[in-house]
């Protein structure tokens, strides 16, 4: 085959039905990449300043490498996309599988993580390391760093592939990472020092750098072997064929919309993406530990409002972001069957409201930091249910892409269009702005009362608002069916 795979990939990208959205998403990602790059450069300069006056700056730098690469490895495993490629059409053509595997692995190198270390390290490298080391040593050391990045890259891919397949491996890896961090932190075994010594060794014996390219080749071949063995259609995306089924029939007793509600719950529990979303929102409960930690009881209460927003509302925000696209793949069934649109809306509202309440109750754990959490989170919860739910429904009218339920949730940009990005503004910042204005105008306590009252009004009016949105969604029915059909 004369054409290389980039030819096909480029066309796939350009000709995709959701091209404009993909480009916009890529644009936003590039923006973030540049932003973080600049932050990294800034941090790099800070680093240089700190190390400048030490005796052995390069050695100190080396000692910190494990910390960086260790965290980077874990981050890569979580964030980095596994190389995928629509290889099915090519399986039957006279194209060597090895070639497809090589393409996938090579293409994966185009990743921000492979450039990020340079942003961090360049200031140090240029200002301190270059003058301090002899040329051969310098290049050898630089080479070692350079290769280490790729070692991490391919190591991450391999570990990710393996842990994807087996939960046992996944948890063992997590355990191992946590264990190593703990052991090192408590000084039992000095892993960081040992890792740093490897690079110190290179300073004395430049030739040793060559170990790294060998490592890279070894990992590359390991990955290639793995991909080659998984080229069967049913294996590259290993699915569990047996379903674990829970019967949520008790939900049917909730009301007319109970049938839809039990379907929603099944949807969330049985599909990777909504399930991950749900689990991530539970993890958000610990966000409070992060921002409430140094809370001074007489300090600004703004932080508590922000925290309350996130902790009570995170699930409904993440779920609402893609409503009703979660059901996009079988939207025609819901529309043509004896399911009234009102029931779809009602069950979504109920779901969001209940999770808000449940998370509020869980967040009361933070009362040990300050009892103000009790009422501040409460009014925020009311606002979330009484106002944000309707904002979410309104924005859901623009839903355009059916969500592929079985892809992972983290950093999955499918279905994320301009609407989703813009959505964060009224849903997240709206309440903060409202609260800010109210507290400036009326002082804190009145502000809370009004804030909660607004939410309460929204809750009391929910029957009429649900009817309103039912009509709106019915109006948009055809458009949404049409949008969901295109891939």
């Amino acid at each position: 085959m004369k054409r290389n795979f980039f030819y096909f990939a480029w066309r796939e990208f350009i000709r995709s039905a959701s091209r404009n959205k993909n480009m916009a998403t890529k644009g936003v990602l590039i923006f973030f990449a540049i932003y973080f790059g600049l932050v990294a450069v800034f941090m790099g300069f800070q680093l240089t300043e700190k190390l400048k006056d030490l005796e052995n700056p390069v050695q100190t730098f080396n000692a910190m490498l494990l910390i960086y690469f260790g965290y980077e490895l874990v981050l890569r495993i979580m964030v980095q996309n596994l190389p995928t490629f629509g290889f099915q059409p090519f399986l039957l053509l006279p194209v060597k599988r090895k070639r497809i595997a090589r393409y996938m692995l090579n293409k994966s190198l185009l990743h921000f993580f492979n450039i990020l270390p340079w942003f961090l390290g360049l200031p140090f490298i240029i200002r301190i390391a270059a003058p301090a080391l002899e040329p051969t040593v310098f290049w050898a050391w630089l080479g070692a760093l350079f290769f280490m990045i790729f070692v991490n890259h391919y190591l991450a891919i391999y570990i990710k592939w393996r842990t994807n397949e087996s939960d046992v491996l996944f948890y063992s890896f997590l355990g191992l990472a946590a264990g190593v961090t703990a052991i090192d932190y408590f000084g039992i075994i000095d892993f960081t020092g040992a890792f740093g010594k490897i690079f110190d060794y290179i300073l004395t014996t430049p030739v040793a750098t060559l170990i790294f390219p060998v490592l890279i080749v070894a990992l590359y071949l390991l990955n290639q072997g793995y991909v080659n063995s998984r080229f069967y259609l049913d294996e590259l995306n290993k699915k569990k064929k047996e379903g674990k089924t829970h019967n949520f029939s008790w939900l049917n007793n909730v009301g007319d919309y109970g049938k839809m509600l039990s379907l929603e719950v099944k949807m969330i529990m049985r599909n990777k993406r909504p399930k991950n979303t749900a689990m991530m929102s539970v993890l958000f409960m610990f966000y409070g530990l992060l921002i409430y930690n140094d809370y001074d009881p007489n300090g600004p209460e703004f932080i508590l409002v922000l925290g309350g927003m996130f902790m009570t509302g995170v699930f409904s925000m993440m779920y609402g972001q893609f409503f009703p696209a979660w059901h996009g793949k079988y939207y025609p069934l819901l529309m043509a069957q004896n399911m009234k649109m009102k029931q779809v809306i009602q069950s979504a509202f109920f779901l969001m409201a209940v999770t808000n309440v449940v998370f509020y109750l869980l967040s009361l754990g933070y009362m040990f930091i300050t009892p103000k959490v009790l009422y501040i989170h409460f009014v925020v919860m009311l606002y979330n249910i009484g106002v944000n739910s309707w904002v979410i429904f309104a924005l859901g009218l623009n839903s355009k892409t059916a969500i592929e339920l079985n892809q992972r949730a983290a950093f999955n940009y499918q279905g994320v269009g301009a609407t989703q990005w813009l959505m964060t503004i009224p849903v997240l910042f709206g309440p903060l702005i409202v609260y800010g204005l109210l507290s400036l105008a009326f002082g804190k306590i009145t502000a809370y009362v009004i804030f909660g009252a607004i939410g309460l009004i929204g809750i009391i009016l929910h029957p009429r608002l649900i009817d309103y949105f039912t009509r709106q969604y019915l109006k948009r029915k055809h458009k949404m069916i049409y949008n969901y059909k295109s891939k």
């Binding site: 064929k241 043509a336 004896n338």
Partner: protein, 242 residues
């Protein structure tokens, strides 16, 4: 009773469906045939209000489908895989449809008993999700779901496609059984002239969006259909015509 009044659908300036006046009466087993792109799925989608008519309307028992949701109690359908829910097992799917159609657990299992042969022990009682079934089995689940609930109207788009030959004949018999009951109206589209000629009481041929033939079934219907599509008239011996 289903009426299409002045029903038209246009895409990008091209009219893909144009039915000035089509009435399907209660008790008919209505067959729709036509080449690819003739407008069969478009017509069914308009009947189910899944797409918006450019002009005209569809009435089900006098209820305009685009204006009210009440016709949904009378109609059940299977069009394509977007009518099944991949992450449910077939049993759960039937339970879900059953609930929507006012059937309790007992009703559902009684109903499904009649289909054990059809499912050949591959579908019921297994813990497999619908998305993990073979295409043919997925089809079976969707089609049987459309039979649930004793609805007045059943719409099936290409129900025979992707089924193995024995299942196709079983489905034929199932449809004929249901069709015997005069209170049910069944709409079917198919590329298989043999099945359509056997099962349907009335056949309409769509070509480029227009109904070019609309006939009640007779013994010669199959031959006429074949003649229409192949352009070849089969010679009948003098003996047969006697």
């Amino acid at each position: 009773m289903i009426q299409a009044i002045n029903l038209q659908k246009e895409y990008n300036g091209t009219t893909v469906l144009n039915l000035p006046d089509l009435t399907i009466n209660k008790g008919e087993v209505f067959g729709l045939v036509g080449n690819n792109g003739a407008g069969k799925t478009t017509f069914f989608s308009l009947v189910l209000d899944l797409i918006r008519a450019s002009r005209g309307k569809v009435l089900v028992n006098e209820i305009p489908v685009a204006k009210s949701e009440e016709w949904k109690e009378l109609v059940s359908a299977y069009i394509d895989e977007s009518f099944t829910i991949g992450y449910l097992t077939p049993d759960e799917y039937f339970e879900f449809i059953g609930e929507l159609r006012g059937m309790n657990e007992k009703d559902v299992s009684n109903f499904l008993e009649g289909f054990t042969d059809f499912f050949k022990d591959e579908v019921l009682g297994k813990k497999k999700f619908i998305r993990d079934l073979s295409k043919g089995n997925q089809k079976k689940v969707g089609v049987v779901g459309a039979f649930m609930g004793n609805t007045e109207v059943i719409v099936l788009d290409e129900p025979f496609a992707n089924l193995d030959p024995s299942s196709q004949y079983q489905l034929r018999n199932i449809i004929k059984e249901i069709g015997k009951r005069q209170d049910k109206t069944i709409l079917i589209s198919s590329h298989d002239l043999d099945h359509v000629a056997d099962v349907c009481s009335r056949i309409v041929i769509l070509e480029k969006g227009e109904a070019v033939r609309d006939v009640q079934k007779t013994e010669t219907t199959l031959a006429e259909l074949e003649e229409f599509f192949t352009g070849v008239k089969t010679e009948r011996s003098f003996h047969d015509e006697l």
